[in-house]
Symmetry: C2
Subunit: 124 residues, 2 copies
DNA sequence: CGAGGGGATAGAGGAATGTCTATATTTTGC
DNA sequence: GCAAAATATAGACATTCCTCTATCCCCTCG
């Protein structure tokens, strides 16, 4: 906590510079956390990459064929990605096709853009 | 909206184009998932931003003052961020200072760079 | 219509996660 | 040396998450 009693090192306060980063607003934070959470699973990350790295929508049957988890598990992961706005689904007859979605990655880019490119200067 | 989906006749295979995205290697995927998981929590995300948006290292006492969770919880979150390589710690006397770390964000940038730009645009 | 198949949903179980209180560790002032 | 203060660690506990099997829904074809 900010030292209110100068008990230790009175000439050496722990934190001089005032806070600079402001917290995100609740909706923006929710969206960003949802996108991060959706990608923070090995299987889901690979599913997302399989969808995002393709110009054409990807058939679910292809995804289920490429991973070792069961078909309902794939379906569950696709739902998570869908609710995060990272992918969208369209149906063609019996099959379902997934394509990159509109949401999520933009806020991720914003997060990276506000952070410095590399570790900043050393401690004084 | 979705560009040229293949005509799917009933007896046609569901997916004609061959897979193009190859999975990440295990170490790269592990690092990336660790960074994503570390940021995929509202409290931790704000802690990271508080650290990353500052040129100078941030004192833990300031972080604990700014959040509503208990001090051990802050300490736990800082440990998660540390293990993901997102922040580093340096001690000065009794106090601990956190600064942006070398790892994690780079792989995140790589993930975004390999994804097509239109996949990340916000809904207009 | 009925059969068959792709995909989504339901429910269950075990592992991982986030939070707390209590305690340990380390450093400084007296 | 001793007490106090800043962080870290240790358990404990509730919640969320990931996976599975079983089942349902809907579409197409014979």
């Amino acid at each position: 906590m900010i030292p209110r009693v100068k008990r230790i090192a009175s000439s050496d306060p722990c934190c001089l510079p005032p806070p600079r980063g402001r917290p995100l607003r609740a909706p923006a934070r929710r969206r960003l956390v949802a996108a991060l959470k959706a990608l923070a699973d090995p299987t889901r990350l690979e599913i997302f990459r399989a969808v995002a790295l393709r110009p054409e929508p990807v058939c679910v049957c292809e995804i289920t064929a490429r991973f070792r988890v069961s078909q309902p598990t794939i379906s569950y992961h696709l739902k998570v990605l869908r609710r995060a706005g990272l992918v969208t689904v369209s149906r063609r007859g019996v099959w379902a096709y997934y394509a990159p979605g509109p949401g999520g990655l933009a806020s991720l880019r914003a997060l990276l853009d506000e952070a410095p490119k590399e570790a900043s200067g050393p401690a004084p």
